[in-house]
Symmetry: D2
Subunit: 368 residues, 4 copies
């Protein structure tokens, strides 16, 4: 089940970095959703930040829908989507297959799959598979939009440069982050981040980052207690994104140092509805949405592929070795992970809502 | 499925804070595991730190095994365990049922369950249900011990007092954390934490904390890529523990500010085996164990039940209101959450290993 | 997952024939359903047909609800129910544990569980566990009744005595089958079946039977294609009842000999709605309900426990052996299986409806 | 989850009759299995019996592997396979879309999907999707062959012509059924069946049939009790094949009329191993394999598409109507369903074995 996520709305992904085709199958999308290749392509295109910040590999990423739509709408069956990989040069990987790259899954994959894994470009451990997540997420995002739900992610940290996200309003994310080559909503910080990435890249190094994600307009009462808590479901999905090593909701780890009297979000009546004065809980109480913006932060490790010579081992002769990775790689994963975080979050929320019996009433009633 | 966790090794929990009985059913434990009520009771007892740091409610927590064992060993069927609740005074909850306690699930539960939820003591949102997790975890822990796998959690932060866990070796956790009333492996810090809890408690307040968990002796190759990554499975479980709002693996959020050249854990040969110089990845690469200690950190919010008067709303008349919570409550959840984190981690790891075809060979071969 | 059934509405059962306690946990029942111990007990009592047709073992089967209800209604959490077993004499099983009873699971359990299984009374393979199915089914049945859905099973065959169920209308099942000691809706046939059971029992033998089940008032459009077809879900559950070896929907195996022109159920308009002239499909087309009564038939093998001496083997010395089973056993399983078939069918249908987003609107809106 | 089957070894299928592409994704196949497009193609080709018995639609069914293999072996990731549909003429379906074909899912799909379903050729309810099952099954079959397990299905009934399968030995199935245009192991009966199909076809009608399936060399102890019984898992899968309306294991419905003394399969020692004198249980006791051939029978309804004029309704004007289906259709589904039954059975058994921790040891140890 390793390549499937979701229960009622379930996304299955497939493919390898240097394989023939990558893709996603969305099972459980209600019938009647308007969705077309262009919309999915638009999300995919967001995974490609402007050069020279990103990998030089030219991903065409031209998606085709293989099944599941009819007359421009979901037909109730599985929506299968695919992208054909363009030919990749695997010679470096062939030459170095017994030297696991530090920070990558090469070593663990070699052990788990007894040497049968596709080692070229990391096989199915490659960030390339996040394109499949984005395909599935595009469908979920469109579905959520019918209920006015917005999922907005943006970069809040690259290396030492941090944005105080409390100063960023939702509109800024929608307007600025999209234009920023590093997907940062603060223009000044965005420029600093771009400069930092150039510096790091020039030093044959890479750097980590952090992403914040907000889910807006989620109704109160979405989610479930204990093992199906919103935190459980969302973190499950988010930690499946390669390079993610940390997730915190609301004030997250800051809560470890806070007092209850500070941390509790007091309720009050605002415009006839229940609201909270603060949002330390990130919009989730008892695993269930409380009407405040759902908010979480994702920590991303530095791109493990760096140009510098690194220590490693040779698995065949079981001795120490050195390794120098060729090719150009993104100096930071965070900007490209923004649409992936949105995709996984959209899938999670769509699934949770469908499980709770949500019918997305604005789906047209009649396909005739 | 909200109260079930795991796929092959699956734990289902039930009960409410003021209900009749709470319990757990473990389905999928291999036959032949020696397990008895005393062992489960011993884990449950660890949830009760010494007075006066903990809630005054006397939990007898005397567990009985209802099914699943025969002649002191698991028989291959579901192991059902239960604890009868002692009578609790629900009058405060009856009087305040329309005033949701800030930081608790009262409001979200009221909306989701349309007023039918058991509001007494938080119902099934109560920390009381973590006792059920511990019951299930006791079985998993015993199973893992057959392969020499140890799961060790300890408190590394309460409020401002932090322990640098890199200075704590595994032995210290096993020896000191067990004895510390706050489950902290550093004796000096433990004393400071105790003092802090008294201060906080005296001020009718509470405080947050953090727990580190280590899984030792996990073989290389346990886990799976993408949606079944160790991080995905473990975080899914850990975020189901009430009060947990943050989880990070290895160097976690610190990685956001690091360079790739620092963060990559270089491989080398140590005693004929592959090892890593550092462990920034927390023992997990590509979702799969790499032979280093699996390591993660859990952020716990302050106990939301505090003695001070708090702002809230009255859901029946939809107006602002005030609320003062009665009774004594743990000033910090972290110490009691230590065995719960171990339990959930044990369940996660046992399930992942069984899914990968691990047979726990040291189970006796023959029940005759 | 062997002891859990259902996806959104999920029932987990536990216990052994001679164990301490048997029970069921229902996770996923919507909040607000009126349900009490008496209603569950009433279903359990239906499993006990009048003496002398049934086993002499006195099952008290007095159910207690451990969790999940509050003020007489489901509270949204897991509904855990239990029955304590009364002391059973296990001496015959101790003496014969290495001689597997033909037609029972003794041999396969011995191999699968490497001798650690609870062999007393068949352990968790015992028909005793169908009481747990009935507990879970009682909740599902009550839920379905809110939408006017009725689940009616009745015995249509015992040995050579068969009832042509096309001659039995729904009212007869509700009125007659309940009173018949063999749960047969045809009074004359019921008397013949009773006589046959006495004959068979007197000859130290047993006999097989068949049960028909009808689901009435199911809306059109319930179910799903392919792997979640109503036939797939229902048969999955029904084949989990010990002794069931055959399931057919609508005209079932008769369709193998029919022409398409006979088998196709022609549509027509009846009272402004779509109806079908015949019901060879058993109310299911493409895995989805078509508005006709859902209809299936279940074949039950003869009780394997018979008084006659039987050939078997001795597993310890791996030689041929003989075996004579002691105690009294039901000469036919079918009558007692009637409420079990209803229970499993109710669970299946409730789960399928909840998965499709059904909200059972007649659940009261407000628990205050 | 409607288009996914299996838990550890999971097959997801997609596509529609007149859609662009159909396919299957196999997640959970162990790494190292030799599998190539030719082997999958060979299974697909078995779905196409010789003309003139089959539909005139030319299915090229040329499969391509999109992911999951590397150097001719499974790489541990999802194996995605696809077949592009050739252009189909949908004009008849466009003209008749509001007149549901009797015996088809047109009406139930129209209601469930509110008119958004792809009505052309039955959309994803079409028998066309059984090709996807066969793709997934080809992988499972190959995996099982590593343990010497064979899955053999053959036609035992078409209309009135029946084969007594007890007279057919395994070798005959392997030799004769493959050559028979109707997949029948008895040559004489095969000729009669061919003649019957011609007669039926000439009369613009169709006819039902039955298939027997045997699983040989299954080790003792495969399967699980209650809800994961072999009968539960296999029937779940088999009933997902369109047109299947009945499944019975071993002596099936015949057991309803038998005595326990006849039905019980007596054990004895044969060549140092436990064997059974008869096989009324179909090789399954308590849901677990007992070492005898696993045996079940599948009832298939007549092809609902017949040339004669049929009564139906017009869903738009809600009145009675008539319908005449154009095009040529298989007069009997059974022959083409033979490889589909084998496929689903193979998937079921592979999944059950992997869940029990089977490692298929003959997978090569080393991919280097």
């Amino acid at each position: 089940m390793s390549f499937s996520f979701g229960s009622i709305f379930r996304v299955t992904i497939f493919g390898e970095s240097h394989g023939k085709t990558i893709g996603a199958v969305v099972d459980g999308c209600p019938a009647g959703l308007q969705i077309c290749e262009d919309e999915i392509q638009a999300e995919l295109d967001r995974r490609r930040p402007g050069q020279p910040l990103s990998t030089s590999r030219r991903e065409q990423d031209s998606v085709r829908i293989m099944s599941g739509t009819f007359n421009g709408r979901s037909n109730g069956g599985p929506i299968a989507m695919a992208i054909d990989n363009t030919d990749a040069d695997s010679s470096w990987y062939d030459a170095n297959r017994f030297k696991p790259r530090p920070g990558h899954a090469d070593y663990t994959a070699y052990v788990k799959y007894r040497g049968f894994n596709d080692y070229r470009g990391g096989g199915f451990f490659s960030g390339r598979l996040t394109a499949c997540m984005v395909m599935g997420g595009a469908v979920a995002k469109k579905l959520l939009s019918l209920s006015g739900i917005k999922v907005l992610a943006h970069v809040v940290q690259i290396g030492d440069i941090q944005v105080d996200s409390r100063l960023i309003d939702d509109g800024q994310i929608e307007e600025n982050a999209v234009l920023s080559p590093v997907r940062c909503a603060d223009r000044g910080k965005s420029d600093q981040m771009v400069a930092e990435l150039k510096r790091v890249s020039g030093a044959n190094d890479s750097v980590g980052g952090a992403i914040e994600c907000r889910v807006l307009n989620l109704p109160v009462g979405v989610g479930a207690p204990i093992f199906d808590s919103l935190e459980s479901i969302i973190s499950h999905g988010i930690f499946s994104i390669p390079a993610v090593k940390a997730v915190e909701f609301g004030s997250g780890f800051k809560l470890s140092g806070m007092k209850g009297s500070e941390a509790n979000d007091a309720f009050y009546i605002k415009g006839g509805k229940v609201a909270a004065v603060t949002n330390n809980s990130g919009g989730i109480l008892g695993g269930i949405s409380d009407g405040m913006p759902l908010l979480f932060r994702v920590g991303v490790k530095p791109t493990p592929s760096i140009g510098a010579v690194q220590r490693t081992v040779d698995l065949r002769r079981m001795g120490n070795a050195e390794l120098q990775i060729e090719g150009r790689h993104d100096p930071c994963v965070a900007p490209r992970a923004v649409p992936v975080v949105e995709a996984i979050t959209s899938i999670s929320v769509a699934d949770v809502m469908l499980r709770s019996g949500c019918r997305f009433e604005r789906l047209a009633d009649n396909g005739e």
